[in-house]
Symmetry: D2
Subunit: 347 residues, 4 copies
């Protein structure tokens, strides 16, 4: 079968490799219909993720059709249309038992190397999914592939970050970064009841995309975000700040944008080991800060329902539909910021 494999920094290829088979009773093999290139795949592309060996199949955003199931699979059968969660939980360890599937002691991330469970990725004609009953969700009949795809990672990641911030109806949410994740935050915050979402980015062009989704645009090349937020909130600050970039500067900005008693939820994947946390000012202001990978399993049923009923349309971020054979071009365009979101079609 065809598979997108890592060859080295900034090199991916479409290779012919053997099809996966059922290895454990709880496995399923899925025939992939659509795969997407995730922002976190770029880290891997840039060679900054240790443990990605040349030849590994990559990718973790996908939808497809169940091809075969192991003897222990109870709730899925061949032919089911499914969306996969990007991280894999076992369902039985203490973390999974309490619902923290993203903290699974046995789990990992599809196509993310030996430090993340050594699992083959999903940018391929077929992918093996361990603990299939846990890590695949059936797609409602009326939901198409493209819309369903985003529930397995990017949309639900953004949606979960907003939930983690406990947005109350009418609150002002500032989102830093208007890349694809930031745009999903805009959508998610509005559907969760935010009064307004202020979308901040350096580039005016990117804030305009957020504006078209209902946000108040705030371009930092035009205005100072801190004074702009202060003005919008009569000096109070934002109730909630979602950081969707991942750098120390934008994290620092989050602490300056948030009001006393407010909450910061950081979703950007950072490369830095530590942050100079503003301890004293946070003590005075009573700030809640949360950074963490998403727990897709917790929220995917909600995002699937919202997408199915048309409350959310995550496909607005798609800039490129490419056949699998052109995956290397997709990676290049995405890395060069010429693409906003690349979908790979396998059918």
């Amino acid at each position: 079968m065809r598979a997108v494999t890592f060859r080295g920094t900034h090199q991916v290829a479409v290779d012919e490799i053997p099809e996966p088979t059922i290895l454990e009773g709880a496995d399923a093999v899925v025939r992939v219909q659509r795969a997407a290139i995730c922002g976190s795949d770029l880290h891997l592309y840039h060679g900054t993720i240790p443990g990605i060996l040349p030849g590994m199949t990559i990718g973790h955003e996908f939808v497809g059709t169940v091809e075969s199931v192991g003897s222990q699979v109870q709730y899925l059968k061949s032919g089911d249309r499914v969306v996969g969660t990007f991280h894999i939980g076992c369902g039985g360890c203490p973390a999974c038992r309490r619902g923290d599937f993203h903290q699974c002691s046995q789990g990992g991330v599809l196509g993310y190397g030996i430090a993340f469970g050594n699992l083959a990725g999903s940018q391929a004609d077929f992918v093996r999914i361990p603990h299939a009953d846990i890590n695949l969700r059936i797609i409602p009949p009326s939901l198409d592939w493209d819309r369903a795809l985003f529930c397995g990672d990017i949309l639900t990641t953004a949606f979960g970050a907003v939930k983690n911030a406990g947005v109350q109806p009418g609150e002002t949410v500032a989102v830093i970064g208007c890349g694809p994740v930031g745009l999903m935050v805009v959508i998610s915050a509005l559907v969760q009841g935010a009064g307004r979402v202020v979308a901040i980015d350096r580039l005016t062009e990117r804030t305009k995309r957020a504006e078209s989704l209902g946000a108040v645009p705030l371009s930092s090349e035009e205005k100072n975000p801190i004074s702009a937020i202060n003005q919008l909130t009569q000096g109070e600050g934002a109730d909630v700040v979602i950081e969707a970039v991942g750098g120390s500067k934008t994290l620092e900005m989050a602490f300056q944008l948030v009001r006393g008693g407010g909450r910061i939820s950081a979703i950007g994947v950072t490369a830095e080991d530590t942050l100079a946390y503003p301890l004293m000012s946070s003590l005075t202001k009573d700030i809640t800060f949360r950074i963490g990978v998403a727990n897709i399993h917790r929220d995917i049923d909600e995002t699937l329902a919202l997408v199915t009923y048309g409350r959310i349309d995550p496909t607005v971020i798609i800039s490129h539909h490419l056949p699998l054979s052109r995956a290397p071009e997709g990676y290049r365009l995405f890395a060069e910021r010429q693409a906003q979101k690349v979908l790979l079609a396998l059918d």
Copy 2:
């Protein structure tokens, strides 16, 4: 000044009466700019509320400008634009202390007779508001009178009923009744994250109004609501049912529409003392049932924010703008169901 007064069953008049004055230090007198006729004013109009004496000023939905304040008022001053809560809390009794302003032991409802605090109503040029710091909210500068008005009762009543049901993102909410309250429920449920709102009414025409606000219309003259909800939910039932009519038949229907483990929130003002509660089936299904007058103070800051930022437009239900002098006509049209919502302008 002019005031709409109760004369007897189906008789209201616009009378000239003395202006109210500050009686207690915590009072404010408000110059009314807009008043509305509430569905619960119709009960009074129909003569079914005991303790409404002829000559009483009626009405409890209003916005206006603070004219004068008593010596104990701390947070308001003459000239402030305000919206009033329809029910009056004292701020100091045990119920108010725990935030249950609608359960205030000293409180009442404006213009609702001697059983509800014997307070003059707000369909008048001026209205006296006890405990003004508690019962008036400043209107944000960018918010116009019409939009603000609804936050003091009908919108926040509907919004609160949805909150009482604890709607989770993506859930299916059925609302029974597409009158003005039902339409406010549609808006409120969507902004609180409902996946879809199914709006049920006998009249197709009324369900169409709900549809224009984003609901799935369900006319009971066209389809059986129970089988229709079953079909929409693959036999599960609605996660949440909001009853916005007030009759025993619609309450019974609510129990048939709701899924096991679901919640019913009843908002329709009922005339019946008791309901034949389906005890055994609720025991099996684990149903939560809540009926209660709204606690406006709890939610009004949220609705004001949502309306200010344009997330909600409650004015969609207005069918008639009339000058105060035509209030009797407004009551008649509303009672005859020729009007959906009547606003009275006093300026």
Copy 3:
């Protein structure tokens, strides 16, 4: 093997019957170490549950050791010490997927007849448990059989009813009924932060047992509960009322004890089809009412932890330890109210 079987109204026997075997891949067979007679077993004993056929094995409170598992069982193995949930969920239907295991469309109750899944009961040397991964929990090593047993039904049922009422720290909880369930409510409400629990029963002797567990005793043969609660709460009423009897009179009392804005959670199994619900007064008072069978799966991890760490000791209600052979005597004593809680030992 030995099994307690139903013979007819007020007749149970210990019979010799064949051992159960694995029928489905997800099954486990458990060697029972302790079983208890539940209050709801008395309904069956009194012949009021339709669909209990003579010869059926009864009982649903148990702990034991996994004897064998089917090929699809993933998280349990032979030798594991387990406690069973009294109701059986499939894990895959929409209700189970959203966590409402007590609403499972495929499920049932062990030993409760053909209307409840036609499952053999657990008052036997062995019991077959369908969907074992879902319906059995491993007992922490430091927890003994007797303490663990109660987590599968009576304690968690009471604990869940208290959770359903959303008790806030410091609140006043009234519990009606000081039988074994009522006593578990006392313990549960205190551990969940209640300020005080007022335990109401007709018999002074029973309220004394509640008092020994930390409750304020209130015997209705000594005082009128309504005036007593009013006095204790300065006329406010109880924040929360838990009804643990199951009759219409005690349900009516609950509405009279609860404060405006308060919550009633009914846990007593009722025989009546409908209740004359006080609709008008509830509308004014804004009352939340919930009646429902427990969702053990939702709360059992919490009760197991609390019992393991010694925060709760449910064994205080045990009045009789009997060998399985004396089960008929246990049923008789319990039915005659000479026993408070009967444990059957099988080892």
Copy 4:
């Protein structure tokens, strides 16, 4: 009247100064019956709080009797027994309106210098309280002075930090530091449903005090806390960590003790501007971190109820009862760690 005044680093005196009077209509003057020396008074004593001028009256933990009220006070009258909140809110600014009294733009802290509102302290015969209706709570008749006193700061501060961490029933809470605040955390976590509280301190003697209140003692001079918590939790880590010391080392320890998906609530007053926040590991582990001064107004009704009903006895931490005249000795003993908690009696 007598007042404890700041004279310079490590110097306080009992001076004779004029009695306070009503300055604003919302003021009350309270005759102080008991005052306590708070841990944060030691910062001031050590001279590390800028803006404490020589001659200022200090102290902010107190109970007393209302002596006189201004013309705008609505809910208090002379003779009322009251406990004061250590921080002062105005009740009208946006922060107070949303319930964040600790973020009041007009507020301050009693006796904490010009950077905190320049308010005279409460270690004096009389203290003036601005916005008295907001910042004083009536003490229930059955509650004595000593027990009530702690609700105005130390107990409610600890209780609020536990609430901020969202402890679920049965969870394992680790508290770092067994000083008076740490002991209040132990009590608060247990009453809020913690399964167990592991109390960590360098000194075995201090962990024994925590043990006597129900905690699992963990002396870091005897065991490594990280490996001990790992052992107690089978390698998972604590669900919640409450940091009650205030140093960077104990904050770092908190991140090592907490499980994936867990929550850290920091309550120790720190002297450091920034913390080297473990960003990358927190991203992987999904950690929530909150540090902030307490919002007493949010929680004081709950702590007052719990203390009144005997669920909590905060007086267990009192080591010294001294007359006001011996306040200087009290400060010295506390600073030298010879006293655990000093109460000053003024009657």
